[in-house]
Amino acid sequence: MKDSKSVLVVGGGIAGIQASLDAADRGFKVYLVEKTPSIGGRMAQLDKTFPTMDCSICILAPKMAECYRHSNITLLTYSEVQDAKGSIGNFEVAVLKKARHVKEDKCVGCGICTEKCPVKVPNEFEMGLADRKAIYMPFPQAVPRLTTIDEENCLFFQKGTCRVCEKLCEAGAIDFDEKPEEIVLNVDAIILATGFDVFNPKAITAYGYGKYKNVITAMELERLICASGPTDGYILRPSDGKEPESVVFIQCVGSRDQRYNPYCSSICCKYAIKDAVLIREHHPEIDTYVFYIDLRAFGKGFQEFANRSKEEYGINYIRSNPGEIREDPITQDLTIWYEDTLTRTIKPLTVGLVVLCTASIPRPDNKKLSELIGVELDDLGFFRASHDIDHPVDLTVPGVYGCGFCLGPRVGDIPHSVMQAGAAVARMSEELAGMEEA
C-alpha cells in the first residue's frame, strides 16, 4: 500500500475512532471530522460497558489519545462536511471548521476561563442533569484537550459585554475574532460513522417524561450511575436528591412500536440488564425491576448474564409492557399499572424512579450527508448497505463505507461497531488496491 492514500472519516464515536486508527496503522492519511468539540461519541458518556463491565472511558480514552497523537491522523473537531464531489480514488470534500474562539496551539486546558465564566447552560454531555459554562470542555477526558466558546450563549457574542475569559487566560488563547474556516481535502475514500440519536420519549405522553421529574431515560441513568457524573455515581432522584427505594426499567420505549420506530434497537435489553446490575452493585438495598416484552439478550454470554442478574443480583423481570405511569404529586413516587403476562395478574407497582429504555434512532445528519455524497438511506434513515449480506459495510457509492450504529440496529453495540470499523477499512484497502492493479 502506498502511503499517499487518504480517507475522510465522518463521526468521532467509537466506530469512527477505530476506523481512523485501523486506517492510519495501514498507512492511510486520515482526516477525522467530528462535529462536536471532542471525539468520543456516546461511548464516552457510558459508565461501565457490557459484556465485560469494563469502565467505558478507560477503554476509550487511550484510543482517543492515540487518534490525537498518531502521525497519520488529522483531527478536525467542531467541524462538518459542507460539500463533496468526485468518486472513488478522487473525492474532493469541503469541511467547515467552526470558530472555537480558543486557539488550539495556546490553550493548556487549565480551566480558569470555565470556572469564572458567568453563563450557565444545560450540559449536553451530562444529558442536562448538570450545567456547563458558555466556555467549556465537554468532559474531563476530552480530545483535543481545550475549551470552546459556544457563541449562542456567550455574553460577548450576544451582547458585546463580559470578556472575562479573555482577561483571565494566562496563555492568551481566547480569540474572539476567529472566523470559521473552510478546508478542502482530496481523499481516496470516505467512511461514515455518524452513530445514533436517542428517541425523545416525550412523544409517549402516558409515561410522563418531561412532566414527571423521576421518569428518566437510560442515557440519563448512565450519567447518574457514573462515578464522575453529576451525582458522583449515587442513584439520586431528580425530584428531591434522595435515593429511591426501587427502580423500574421499561423496555422498548419507542422501539418495536409502529407509530415511532418499528425496529428493535438491539442494545436496550442488554444495557438494561447491565444498568440494573450496576444499581444493585452500588446500592444493594434498591429493588430493581425490568419490564420487558421479550428479553433480547442475544450474543455470546448474554443469556448467562441475564440469568446471573436474576440469581445473583436479584433483579425482578416482569413480562409486560406497562400502559401508563402516574405520579403522586406529594411524594413524586410513580405508580405503574401493568399486567404480568406470565401470571395474568393486573396490578399497580409504586416506585421511586423509572428508567425508560428509549429507541436508538438515526441522526438527522445522515440525510444531509446522503445528499452531499450521494449514498442512499434506508427507509428508516440509516445508511443503506450496497448489499446487506455480501457487502454489509459498503454504501451505495463506490469508495464510501459505513460502520457503527449509523448502519442501523444490526447489533448496535460497541464490539460490533469496532468490528465494522475494521471491516470498512479492510474493504476500502481492498477496493483501492484493486483499482491500482487495474
Binding site: 418495536r256 407509530r259 416484552i293 409492557n321 400502559g323 401508563e324 401493568y338 403476562t341
Partner: protein
C-alpha cells in the same frame, strides 16, 4: 422466564381450533389479530381489566391465536366497554377493540350471544333504550320532582333493526 401456568392450554389438541385466528383475521375489523406481539400493554391500560379478573384483552388475543374457540366465543368479549384505550396504546396497531367487534360478530353468527346482551337488544327494540329505569328509580324521580321519562321515537330505528335482521339475531319476538 418462569413457566406459564397454563402450558397445557398452549399445546395443540382437539379443543384447539387452529383456523380461528384466520377466520378472525378475515372478518371485518379483525385483521389486527395478526399483529399482536402479546406485550400486555392493552391489558395494562384497560379499565375493564382493572375491575374484573374475568376480562383480559391480551389474553383474549392469545386465546384467538391458539384457537381456544369455546372461551373466545363465551361471555368474555362482551365485557369490553369499547372505550378504545387499547387501540390508542397498542404499539403494533393490533386494534384489540376492533378485533373484539369481529369476534362478537362471529359469536352472534354462531348463536353465542349471552342472555343479558340479548335482553338489552330486546329493550332497544321495545323501548329504544338499552335499559329502562326500575320502579324505585321512577319513584325517586317523582320525589325529586323530576319530569316523567318520555317514550323514545323508535320508528326509524325499528326499520333499521328489521332490515339488518337484528331482531332475528337476538331471537326477539
Amino acid at each position: 422466564m418462569s413457566k406459564s401456568e397454563d402450558t397445557e392450554s398452549r399445546t395443540h389438541d382437539s379443543s384447539h381450533d387452529t383456523k380461528l385466528m384466520h377466520i378472525v383475521a378475515h372478518t371485518p375489523r379483525g385483521k389486527g389479530i395478526l399483529d399482536c406481539i402479546q406485550c400486555g400493554r392493552c391489558t395494562s391500560s384497560c379499565p375493564m381489566a382493572r375491575q374484573t379478573s374475568r376480562y383480559n384483552p391480551r389474553r383474549l388475543m392469545e386465546m384467538i391465536t391458539i384457537g381456544l374457540k369455546e372461551e373466545v366465543l363465551s361471555n368474555t368479549p362482551w365485557y369490553c366497554l369499547s372505550c378504545f384505550t387499547c387501540v390508542d396504546k397498542c404499539p403494533q396497531g393490533a386494534d384489540v377493540g376492533e378485533v373484539i367487534f369481529a369476534i362478537r360478530n362471529i359469536a352472534a353468527r354462531e348463536g353465542h350471544i349471552p342472555p343479558g346482551i340479548k335482553a338489552q337488544g330486546g329493550n332497544i327494540i321495545d323501548t329504544g333504550k338499552i335499559s329502562n329505569p326500575t320502579k324505585s328509580i321512577l319513584k325517586q324521580r317523582q320525589e325529586m320532582g323530576l319530569p316523567e321519562i318520555e317514550p323514545s321515537d323508535t320508528e326509524e330505528l325499528l326499520k333499521i333493526l328489521r332490515k339488518t335482521g337484528f331482531d332475528k339475531i337476538i331471537g326477539h319476538k
